[in-house]
């Protein structure tokens, strides 16, 4: 059954339910392929043996009412998984084995999913290319020595290479949508408060959200249904009525008003991206939607705001890594010396850089000038979207200002790396949902994505719009399995 890997997630679910294939067959196929794909370095921790056993248990006592009946899935290594090592891509958590399960992965387990491994990511999700991981670079299956995006780079790589039928990532400033765009896959960041943050290694708590990464929009709707839930263990979890995203998925977008923000037409953006954007607008019009130019005047201030708010929250969240209760510890002459050496040796350069930015902007004398200022600008950015949504139902933009770049190309210049997230960061600041779908290729044949941004809690609408665009694009990743050995 070599074609199992080519099945979509929803097809796998149907075939398992019809007893045409077993959980063991499916799990074995993805485990085998993952084992042959070490060159990609997508995994940090493998859970293959355990997964095969779980699949056997499922087949012995199957429950076909589950949404992911015996389906194997690898997940980003930022989700705490009980008894499975969870590193967040950091040396400081190299040996950390959680004694509890994150709510999002628990939801996957509750629906019959089987965790086959933990996927590589930028250290503490801080990065846009997976190059800050303590566990090494990840290869993009699209081409050798190309970054898979980040921070959910192991997730995007494993998904595009079909080592897992679907996966989940986390998105603080674009960490689901940018890697999805770089690998020709679908990634959705839900509204802040839709997926519980309980058990997710915290980066910037007012921005972090978990979300699905899949091969297509229908799979994305299914995964969102599984992972989104109200959770009293997360005080920012929102108790709203979750939709039946898969059942209500619908390509009819007649009469929908879609906004095009002129501020997203940035200097130096490749011509192909602009053309792709126009193609997206054309499809929407052909399908009965209406294109309306909108204004998001504070777009240019989103990245500077993000690089104050996110590091500030990170510096506070990462204060817990002190070498005392868990994680790596270095020897010191006294307690303070031990803290300082532990954190110096345990964190990588990008994480240290961001902790220090955050510490500085929160420090006495600078708080008002930086942190308070950024929170005020964050309000302006949110107001821009509120204003726009008086006129439109959703917004269409490119996902990224460029396609995937080579490993090592941007590591020496943090600001040029940060610019990658220019189209995704404003959405996190405003707490909105957004989906990236593959929409075409650039002249090197690398994938490019389009982003559909919705109103808060309007995931169904952006899924439907994405579905309608997807049907008219027929995107396909072209690569041979060059990494297999």
């Amino acid at each position: 059954m070599s074609n199992i890997i080519d099945l979509k997630l929803f097809e796998l679910v149907e075939k398992i339910k019809k007893k045409e294939i077993s959980s063991q067959e499916v799990t074995k196929v993805f485990v085998d392929r993952s084992q042959k794909s070490k060159k990609l370095n997508s995994y940090i921790t493998e859970n293959f043996e355990n997964a095969l056993q779980k699949a056997k248990q499922f087949d012995e006592k199957p429950d076909f009412n589950k949404k992911l009946p015996g389906v194997p899935l690898a997940v980003k290594d930022l989700f705490c998984t009980k008894n499975i090592r969870t590193t967040a891509g950091s040396k400081i958590l190299e040996n950390f084995i959680p004694t509890y399960e994150s709510t999002v992965t628990q939801n996957i387990l509750n629906e019959g999913g089987i965790i086959i491994g933990k996927l590589n990511c930028d250290e503490f999700a801080m990065g846009s290319s997976n190059e800050t991981s303590f566990f090494g670079n990840v290869q993009n299956p699209i081409s050798e020595n190309l970054v898979p995006g980040g921070s959910s780079g192991g997730s995007s790589s494993a998904l595009a290479a079909k080592l897992t039928p679907a996966t989940i990532g986390t998105d603080t400033g674009g960490s689901i949508r940018q890697p999805a765009s770089f690998t020709g896959t679908v990634g959705l960041k839900p509204t802040y408060g839709s997926c519980s943050r309980y058990g997710i290694v915290a980066f910037a708590s007012s921005l972090d959200q978990a979300g699905p990464m899949t091969q297509n929009v229908k799979d994305c709707a299914l995964m969102l249904e599984v992972i989104s839930s109200y959770d009293n263990k997360d005080s920012t979890s929102v108790d709203f009525k979750r939709g039946q995203y898969l059942k209500d998925l619908n390509e009819n977008i007649k009469g929908k008003k879609i906004g095009i923000p002129k501020q997203y037409r940035v200097d130096g953006m490749p011509k192909e991206i602009d053309e792709l954007w126009k193609k997206g607008m054309k499809i929407i019009e052909n399908n009965g939607g209406e294109i309306i130019e909108i204004n998001l005047p504070n777009t240019n201030y989103a990245l500077p705001t993000y690089y104050i708010v996110a590091p500030a929250e990170a510096s506070s969240n990462l204060a817990r890594y002190d070498g005392v209760k868990y994680g790596f510890r270095s020897k010191g002459e006294n307690l303070i010396d031990m803290y300082e050496k532990t954190r110096s040796e345990g964190f990588g350069d990008e994480v240290k850089r961001r902790i220090m930015i955050g510490t500085y902007v929160l420090s006495s004398g600078y708080y008002d000038a930086y942190y308070l200022k950024a929170q005020k600008v964050r309000r302006l950015i949110k107001n821009d979207f509120d204003e726009a949504y008086k006129k439109v139902d959703a917004i269409l933009t490119p996902s990224t200002p460029s396609s995937a770049f080579k490993i090592g190309e941007k590591t020496n210049d943090p600001v040029s790396m940060y610019l990658n997230d220019i189209f995704t960061v404003p959405i996190n600041l405003a707490g909105l949902p957004a989906i990236s779908i593959p929409a075409g290729h650039d002249k090197s044949g690398y994938p490019l994505g389009l982003q559909v941004i919705g109103k808060a809690f309007d995931e169904q609408n952006i899924l439907n719009i994405a579905y309608s665009i997807e049907k008219n694009i027929n995107f396909k990743n072209n690569f041979n399995d060059w990494w297999i050995n």
Binding site: N95, Y301, K325, G327, M338, S344, M356
Partner: protein
């Protein structure tokens, strides 16, 4: 403004991250380029704007203060780099 070596040393102290002189130089360059980028915000007049502290404008729910986890000492100490089965162990702090 510029972040000089003295400031870098000060932030490193506040962050509890030791840093050697070689790295401090590179870090000060990186931080300067990042702050130059961040200071674009100064263009905006935000005097009358309310800061946005949380995007989820929900009321915090109250719950009963009851113990749900019992006998989890072993679990809690399981990941500690050094313990004596009852406590976390740190370098001596009292002479």
């Amino acid at each position: 403004m510029t972040i000089d070596l003295k400031t870098v040393k000060h932030i490193s102290k506040l962050s509890r991250i030791s840093i050697d002189d070689n790295k401090a130089k590179k870090l000060s360059d990186d931080l300067n380029s990042i702050f130059k980028f961040i200071e674009k915000l100064e263009e905006l007049d935000t005097e009358k704007i309310e800061p946005l502290t949380s995007i989820a404008e929900t009321n915090l729910k109250l719950r009963k203060d009851e113990i749900k986890s019992k006998n989890i000492r072993e679990d809690i100490l399981k990941n500690s780099p050094e313990d004596n089965k009852d406590f976390f162990v740190v370098p001596k702090v009292v002479e």
